[in-house]
Amino acid sequence: MSQYFDMQRRKFLKSSAALGSLVVGTCFLGAAPRALAGVLTPPSDTAKTANLFVALRPDGIVEITCHRSEMGQQIRTAVAQIVADEMEAAWDKIVVIQAKGDPKYGDQNTDGSRSIRFNLQRLREMGASVRYMMQHAAAKRWGVEPSSCSAVQHLVTHTSGKTFTYAELVSDALSITPPEADALTLKTREEWRYINTGMAHIDLQDIVTGKATFAADVRAPKALVAIIERPPVVGGKVKSVDDTATRAVKGVIDVVSIPAPTGAPQFQPKGGVAVVAENTWAAMQGRRALKIEWDDGPNGDYNSESFKAQLLETVNAPQEMVREKGDAASVLANDTDKLVADYYMPHLTQAPMEPPCATAMYYEDRVDVWASTQNPQADMETVGKMVGMEKEKINVHVTMLGGAFGRKSKPDFSAEAAYVSMKTGKPIRVQWTREDDIQHGYYHAVSAQHIEASLNDQGGIEAYLHRTAFAPIASTFAEGANAPFSFELDLGFTDNPILTPNLKLERGEAPAKARIGWMRSVTNIFHAFAVQSFIAEAAHKAGKDQKDYLLEVIGPDRVLDVTTQNAKYNNYWGNKSVYPLDIARLRGAIEKVADMSGWGRELPKGRGLGIAAHRSFLTYIATVVEVEVSDSGELDIIKSWVSVDAGTVVNTDSVINQTQGGSIYGITTAISGGITFDEGRVQQSNFHDFRVPRMSDSPLDVEVEIIQNGEAPAGVGEPATPVYAPALCNAIFAACGKRIRTLPIGDQLKA
């Protein structure tokens, strides 16, 4: 029976087609959610078994297919840990094969912190089914009961002491009927040997020796390099182009116009002019020599200053109700001493260290693509549309991703490479520069938040009103959409944990005048910043300790079902009975981090501690930051502590590493000047003016504790980010009494 998921498991599939290997996959049928509905097609008869999940070869080597993209979260290792553990495979006999894009795997969209959540159970069952078949094959050969045979570390042992290696049993196993899922005995938690350990990840050695293959490292086919000049304004078009000087650059081979997109941006290339050259330097020089006149279109008026004013105006007026309980409006109307705060955060861009890059080769009947993509099935669709071919004919090879953070779920770069290859008949590598990445992204939304609260005599929250407004992701998919998708509200807004008799949540509208995308933790970032900052402000007003007050306002242990308060809530597509919004776990994270950080201890002048807690991607997380603010306003982050309850976790070291990294990623929101626009153009261009955290900005110690339990697995990649900025700003307030409501911090501490 399914321990974690309310999903329909049906059967396992087995084949001897692949070189006599035992091949096992899982198959989902029926009314599984769209993202889970993948059906395993008959196994490939080619020598490679890469399109199946696990194959035990006659030589005993286990090939495990990883269908999720690797971008530093160590999913390739985690997938292997799960399968190998349940099949009792020896770790040194494991080979991981990176899957191409193919709908038969089900969802491959590696974002939303859900690779383990979607796959832990089925991968365990697949591994366990191989172990079952090994046991039964040995039992049959010996003529004994399967229960008298145990499979441990690539070896089946009978109670008499005789043994067979897995390799010796492969051909016998081919005649064993694979078990129904219900006939499987999964290991107990105590029996796990790989799952829930911090074993080293499989690609480490390749990475430290420079052998890991990222998108730009693909050398076959030997590609020409294309660098593209794109319209500086979203929706803009080329009015005229003079490429005379470009074509005169030595090494430049061709200049190709890329058509402007139509309708909503989706993942379409922005259009522009591609310079194709023998090498990267020539392509860069060639692009510099282009003379292009642009027609900016309707977004040419986008200005971040006036947009900020517009957002703040929106959240200071009544808007559409999202969730309501009691009568917050009248309580607040009668309170002359209510606490009111506006919060603002600019656009940000993901800025992964590896700028977008893809190689493509167009043939008459197919396109081969090599890309650092988070979602190869989106590449299939986007490339297919771009070149006018069915998506089934687009072969997408997934390289290692040099970071992604949501940017590489949008494969405009693969479509560019395919298009230029189609036009030139040559293999093409489209290389984005850092300037391209910063100026032509899918931006984290600019946002404004307005919160009011009425405190009662004990300092508790009697009434609470929160309005949010931001440029919605919805606009990327529906032309001109001003209102957010409901999932954009679900993330840290609709699921507000404050317990109060009167609560009202409203959302405003805002046009998107840039391409809006998701960035690590998405709208949780600005929602958690506002809510967790405001709670600390209310604590101060009530004269109470931040941590005690936070626990007080979220209230006692309970399951919070916001849908009973006139709200729609999708719970990250997680089943509410498996993934309830459990206030006890949020409290647990807060208490744990308070303990870890020595909350309440005496601090020298200029030092302060700040706390923030949040549930995102179904994980409960709490962070404490210690800072020092000098008299002249210099900020130094001394140390951070994070407690994370992600339910069942697979690789404990990866969870710690992601939580440390996600915390430091959160520093970006506090220190970066963000992405700003004027005349529709992004005003930043590289790391000198789009500031990201460096070692000198980061604490050298981010202490992480995993709250271990047997709950269903939740997300790990994203949750550490949203809590960081509010914990940091709460610490700053504790250190020097300055409240930061507008990010970045900038010069606010120096005023």
Binding site: I207, T209, G251, T280, W281, M400, F405, R694, S696
Partner: protein, 165 residues
Amino acid sequence: MLTLTVNGKNYEFSGDPTTPVLWFLRDELDLTGPKFGCGMAQCGACTVHIDGVAQRSCVLPVSAAVGRKITTIEGLSEDGDHPVQKAWLDNKVPQCGFCQCGQIMQAASLLASNPTPTDEEIVATMSGNICRCGTYPRIHKAIKAASKSIAGVEYYTPEKEGENA
């Protein structure tokens, strides 16, 4: 025609002498360890050693590297067993890994000139190398560990570690 020395071997280059070393390494020699991250010496992903000292190959023209020894991550050690690489493995530093070759080259250069850097010296030297995954605490820890092994055993010398022409 320029002659460039990379990882102990000589190569001829007849292209544009303003070509940055990074693109010579990647496009001409297929040495893909040095990465392209910014193109303006802001991020350090392209870091190589020039005569044993860390430099940003994305802004250094090949003409300025003639007669000097270029070392990439591929030439830092025979089998990935440079003390810094070993410390990176022991401390499980990398996440995505894209910046790590540059980080390792920067750290190796630091320890070659200063085998026992202080915490502050490590921060000052490494803050030119960006890691968006945020592995800074582990990088710092790994450098301290490598420092211990280097200082305790022998000083790192480029000649011994594959930087000889």
